[in-house]
Structure formats: C-alpha cells, structure tokens
Symmetry: C2
Subunit: 477 residues, 2 copies
C-alpha cells in the first residue's frame, strides 16, 4: 500500500498516489480509525467518494503473496486477484450471482444467506436474480466491498467458508447466463489498424481513414436483443446481397459470415439526460469488461450499410463472455495508449493511463479438426480508450443506463497474424488461411466454432476473462 | 358483420373476408355455438389463431351507431372506436394501465379490482405496472378481449361502470408516462419523398436515392435510453461539428436542431433468434402505433455519420406519444400503398392493404407566439409498409421482443408544405419559414415547442393518436 500522505493530521484533504495515478482529494482518517482498522477497511468508512476508495482498495488485490485455500490452477484466469461477477444456475434451478475462483463459482446468495454480508446491509435477494443490473446499481461502494469481502474469505486460511460444499459450485456443473440485461448496445470502431484495413478494402486505399476518424471515436448503435452468452450457437443469417457485377440483389444464405474480436464494457452507474461524463470521471461509470464477438455477415453488410450504417449484417447475433471482470481487478494492468495526433478536442483529452494490457487471441475449430489459433493481439493497441468512448457517447447528453454495453470495435494489431476478423486475416477472401487439418477458410463455415480468450499478466499474477465461444450452425428454414 | 361463408357446416375450414381482405382458414363453429353466442363472442372460442379473431372482432368497432355514455367531444381522437392503451399516474401515485376515452382515462386496475375481468382470467396486478410490456405479452387474445370488454362497458347505457368515480380519471388530472420499456429501437427511412429530399441536399441531386433504397427498407439501430414521453422537454445537444470550409472540427452547442415527423410501431409478440416473420403474419406481431419525433442535430449528424450511420446527432432524445393505438382500432383505415417498382424480392412482397390512412401535422410554437402549423401530410404515402419493415428486420433471424419500437423514418409528402423535418421545410436553411409572429426559422430554436398530431377519419368516426409534444431547452452546462 503506497499511501504517500498518511502522516498528515486527521481530517485533512490530500492527494493519494496509486500506481502512478493521483486519486484526487482524500480525507485523512482519525488515528483511532487508522489503528483500529487496516487501511483498506478504513477507507470504506471515511471516504464517500467511490473513486478514491476503489483506487486504494485495489492495492490489496496486488498483494502478490495472496493465495486462496481454493485450488487455483497456475494458468487459471480466475485467480484470487480477479474475482469477476457472473450469473449462473445449476440443474436448471434459479439464477444467482456468482464469483469465479479457479474452476469454482462462489455462490453469493449462499454466502449472503449465511449472514456473511450482514455488515454491508445488502439484502440477500439481490443475489438471487436473472441479471446483475440491480446488484451493479447498488454502486461501487457496495459491489467492491462485496468483492473484497469474498477475497478476504477466500484467502483466509481459517475462513468460515471452508465448509465449501455450501458456497462453492464447480464451474463444470453450472450453466452460465447472460450476465446483464443490456438496455442499449453501442459498437465503436476504435482500432486504427482495423479501420485502416477496412478502409483499404472497401473504400480508398490512399485515404483509408475517413476525415472524422482521428477526431472522434466513431461508433453506432447495435442490436441488444440478439446478444447471447458464450456457448449459445449462432444460426447463419440470410439476407439481401448484391452479387458481383449484378444490378439487382438476391436473397440468400450469407456466404461471408465473420467474427469480430472485441472487448466490451458494462455501464455501472446511470447518467441523466443532458448530462455528460468527463474522461476523468469515466471509470466511476464503468463496472467491468467482457470479451465480445460481434458476428458479422460481410455480404449483407456491404449492400445495406450506405448511408445509415450496419444493420442486418450485424444484428443476427453477438456473443458475450459470461464473467464481468471489474475495472478494479484490471487496474494493475493499465498502460499508456498510442499517441493521438492530431490532438483531440478538450472533451476527449485525458490524463493518466487509460489503455489496458490485455492479451487476446482467437481460435477456430472446424467440425473435423482441432482448434487453430488464428489471431493473437492485445487490447493495448486501441487508439481510442474507454474513457474517451464514454465521454464522447455522453457528450450530447445521451443518458447511460446500468447494464448498457459499449464495445470497442474489432481489435486488430499491426501484423497480419494479429487481425481481429476473417475479413482482414484472409484479406477479403484473397488470402485464405489454412487450418491444421488442411482446410482453407475465407470466412466462417457451418459448424466452425470460434473461441476468443483474453487475459492480463504481471509476474505470476494472472487476471483473465475466460472465453467467449460459439459455433455457427446452418441457417434455419 | 360480413361473414361470407357462415352457411357452411360446422367444423369446415373456409376463408373469411373482412373489409376486402381474406382472413385465411377459419373453422366454422357448431350451430349450437352460433346460436348461443353472438358471432363476435363466438370467434373467441373457436379460433386459436389471433389474426382471424381480431380481424373479425374489429367489425364491432366499426358499428357506426356505437356511442358511449362517457361524453366524447366530436373532435376527440379517443372515440369509443379507438380505446388506446397507456400508462398513467395521479398525484405521483403508482403507475397503472389506462384506456383513453374522450377526455377521460379508464383505470383498468380499478376495473379489474372490481372483478370485471374475472372471466378473462387476468391477474389484476398486471394492470398496476410501470410499463405495458407484461400486459402486451399476454397476447392479442387477451389484450383484444380486454379492449372489447371495455368497449362494451363504455357503450352499454346500463353499464355497471356508470359509477364512474371509481374507474374514470380526467386526463387533465393524470400524468402520462413512457408506455413501454423499449428494449431495442430501430429507425427506418421509408418515405421516398424524404429520402429523395435528403439525397438531393447531402449527396447527388441526380441520383438522390442510393442503389439499395428501392430494394430494401433501409434502417438502422437507434438509442432507446433517450426515448422520452410527450411533455418531457429536450436539452439542446452539444457535439463535434465541422464548420464550413474548416479542416478540423470544433465542439459546440448544436445550431441545427431539427424534428423528424415519424410514426412508430410497438412489437406485440416475441420471436426467437433465427426466426423470420412473413409479411402475411406481421400484424400478429404488432401491438399498435404511436406518434414519434426523432429529434436530430443536423450539424453533428453530418460530420459523424460516414461510414457507420447516425449516432450522437440522434441519440440525445426522441419523443413518443403516450397512447398506443392498437392495430385493431386502425384496421378500418387500411389503404393501398404506393406501387413498388422495381418489384421487391419475394420475402418483401405482400398481399392486401398494408398502408394506413393517417392524417399527420406538425405545429411549432415559439416562446413568444401562437402555434403555427408548419406541415401537413399523411402516413399513407410511405413507400415501405410496416409488414415489410418487420419482415426485413427479422429476415436475418434477428429476434424481436415485446416493447421494441420500430419507427418509420421521417414522413414527408410530395409538396413543400408536407415535409416532415425542418431540414426539408427550410431546405437546409436556404428557404427559412416565417412564423405568424414574424420570426423566421431555419431550424428549431431554444424554447420552441414542437407538437405532432395524427388521426384517422372515416365518416363521423375518428381514431387518433393525441399528440407528441416537447419544448427544446438550452443546453445544460
């Protein structure tokens, strides 16, 4: 815990510094409080400003010596430093909120039912729910306290949870569900590498980026009804396409189904109409992140998208990973973003580290054959960061609601093995990729399974997202 | 009641014909049933296919002699032939479902509480609710039966409702709320006159319509969080705009705020992922219609919309009228749509009357001055009808959810006084319109109020939408 100014008198406002970032004004607690409580606990009581609290509490996450009495495999995304939230059920029973640890799920309803959250004054019924929205809506002061309480219980060798049969569920025995009810879904287009590749293929190779691209994070509204959780399969869409050299379209099964490797973030705090979120406040409004596959039908998209943007080429399905990794768990993996030139307008400017070092990869498993890793990239390359996306989205007064999903757009790296879509990997069909079983792919074929994974790593500490997986099935009649 | 084939034997399947449209196969009920029940009631029992039932039940609506013991002014949109559904509250009390009649609201919870819906086996709690979604989700067999039961009670001179103090609320004493929780909002672009006008101004006057326009109902996803009910005011948005002849954008308060005269329809029945709705079945999936003002900031829109479509130029607000007029109430006002040339693809082709003869008008009331009627047009001009929009939207397997809103796009007529936006009425600012107080308008100014109205009329029978009204307030800091 690096609390630089803690030797000041109680009651004084001072700046804290955590991992190189100022946490802003912080009221120094009384000595009595300081002695009675360890600092992490203490901050809960004295700060009513969530951002300070959570910034400081995160320090506990990074206690490298912290381990859990729950067995966590070395390569697990769900270390004790992570503890993401999700919605699970067992044997088609009621849905509940869980936290992932290793190969297990901590049943938060069961913990609440045993009274362990009584001091937090959280009604246990909030954990027996179809979606995380109401829980998230309690605010970070509560959701972070819950997460840290669970972390404490999982790390304590004498934890009262040790009778784990009551509170732990094997992930293999559980079904995961859509974690949030998504009111609105917005898709950005924030990878300069992806936007450049698409611009080269679809428009002008000389001026691949359109004039607005470096001035604002281009985005558009997507379809929220068709967002499905990892594991649910996708029917190949039908639609209007314009055959090469034809004047009139035909209606057919799409022959250019594609994935898009994206990450999404979940809004954690409502805003009102007319209100705008500053880049410096954006993290208060973000609950956490997920992996996201924004399925696309390139042939449908190409014919329909001028002038009002993508519609049916996208709205047949998007897949989301089931575990929402909190911004607090990701804080240690913040990193400097790319330089933005030209300089952005003041409402988009930002201080500090706003990108995240998240390793990403895409696997493709054909019906007959093993999984092939077809792309490997990193979220850190994104030109526009989440704080800028949220500031831009709300700059016109558009209101945000808890559970809204804002996705990054396709995440591509600089080299050909780091592109985030088949469109780019096989360059519009011109450079098919070869799988380990000898089959070639220009786009995704029926019964192909696409798997995306993502994780952060610093030393021996790993915080990851698990996977988002879906198989493409033939179109329904 | 024009039931052409009723003289066939009981059990036989035959076609019915109602207002020129075939209702499809219909099972002739037993003579016993025919005698015991009047035909309208009868159909409830023998047909399990809502479309037949509702087509036939509508005949009762058009009994021209039907009147109500509730006083209904001659020019009221809310005649006994209409009976739209909405959500109201009184004195900041709980929200409930109501039906509009004249200047009154029928409190459906109060009626249910007195046991009048007991035969329909509907739990009274469904009427004490923030949104109509759960009610709509009961299906047309229930919602139509409720509406017809209320119609019967309002028309019966000996109605047990005559002690109206218990079930009627003056509209002037009630507050109306957003009628449905809108999961997804889609905006089409289906007026050929509007698309042509915009194409002329923004793109190429010679080829104003883009190549796909006559082949599919162009549409895009909109923002649902910022849809507000009539009466709620709108803050002028801020955003990035590119000044004339500039190379770099600036961030400022929009100077080109505009309205868009639209109508929307509310989805009444869920579909599953992968499922597509046929044009012939579309009416089963549409609960009813509303007036809709899709506020736009033309300067923000112009700079941002290529290549992914409108985003912040639209998402600051859209206004919806509070009463949802059912498709059954609108059925007598069906009319032939414009000829579609070139012929559309089979999945978009349709039989029968799918357009609606709905008179529309827009009023603009400046801060200091009376309301000016600045546009008068009709919904019947729409090139693409609702059945085609829904068939197209679901053609790729995108699922629809009860409460989703699909809007028409700006509704413009052929002449300059029938355009549905300031952009067109003042032709991009080149032809300002003059108000009765001498002020001129290129776009909407602060404190202007925009009011849209719509109604159907056949003889003395009027079925209307009331109004959607909002005042534009200065941008928040």
């Amino acid at each position: 815990m690096k609390l630089l100014n803690v030797n000041k008198p109680a009651g004084v406002l001072c700046k804290l510094n955590y991992l190189g970032e100022s946490t802003g004004d912080f009221k120094i607690p009384s000595t009595k409080f300081q002695k009675k409580n360890n600092l992490c606990q203490l901050v809960k009581f004295v700060s009513n400003q969530n951002v300070y609290m959570t910034s400081i509490l995160k320090s506990k996450d990074m206690d490298k010596n912290m381990t859990s009495w729950v067995k966590v495999p070395n390569d697990s995304d769900f270390s004790i430093h992570n503890l993401p939230f999700g919605i699970f059920s067992v044997d088609k029973g009621n849905k509940k909120i869980g936290i992932a640890i290793g190969n297990q799920i901590v049943d938060l309803f069961a913990i609440a039912d045993q009274g362990y959250f009584n001091d937090l004054k959280v009604d246990k019924d909030v954990f027996a729910t179809n979606y995380l929205n109401d829980f998230i809506n309690l605010g970070k002061s509560v959701t972070n306290a819950i997460r840290l309480k669970v972390q404490e219980m999982l790390s304590d060798k004498n934890s009262s949870l040790l009778d784990y049969t009551k509170v732990l569920v094997a992930q293999s025995a559980a079904q995961m569900h859509l974690p949030v009810q998504i009111g609105d879904y917005t898709d950005f287009y924030s990878s300069i590498e992806h936007a450049t590749n698409v611009g080269k293929m679809f428009r002008n190779p000389e001026n691949a980026l359109l004039p607005n691209w470096k001035h604002l994070p281009v985005g558009y509204h997507g379809r929220s009804s068709s967002i499905i959780v990892s594991g649910q399969n996708v029917y190949r869409p039908k639609g209007q396409v314009l055959p090469p050299d034809a004047n009139s379209p035909i209606f057919q099964v799409s022959s250019k189904v594609d994935f898009e490797l994206e990450m999404g973030f979940i809004i954690g705090k409502n805003t009102q109409l007319g209100e705008s979120v500053k880049t410096s406040d954006a993290e208060d409004y973000i609950f956490g992140k997920v992996l996201f596959n924004d399925w696309s039908a390139r042939d449908i998209q190409k014919w329909e998208y001028v002038p009002l943007g993508p519609f049916l080429g996208k709205s047949f399905a998007s897949s989301i990973s089931p575990w929402i990794v909190t911004l607090e768990a990701l804080a240690p993996f913040k990193i400097q973003g790319p330089e933005q030139d030209p300089k952005v307008l003041p409402y988009l400017s930002y201080d500090g580290l706003k990108n995240y070092d998240i390793h990403l990869e895409v696997g493709l498993k054909p019906k007959h054959g093993e999984e092939n890793r077809i792309s490997k990239t990193n979220f850190k390359y994104m030109y526009w960061n989440m704080a800028q996306q949220l500031a831009h989205h709300s700059s016109n007064g558009c209101n945000m609601k808890v559970g809204d999903l804002l996705a990054s757009g396709t995440i591509s790296g600089k080299n050909v093995n780091s592109y985030g879509s088949m469109l780019e990997l096989a360059w519009g069909g011109k450079k098919p990729i070869t799988l380990s079983n000898g089959e070639k792919r220009k786009f995704i074929e029926d019964f192909d399974t696409v798997i995306m994974r993502g994780y952060c790593k610093k030393g021996s500490i790993r915080v990851g997202f698990g996977e988002v997986r879906a198989q493409v099935l033939p179109a329904l009649n």
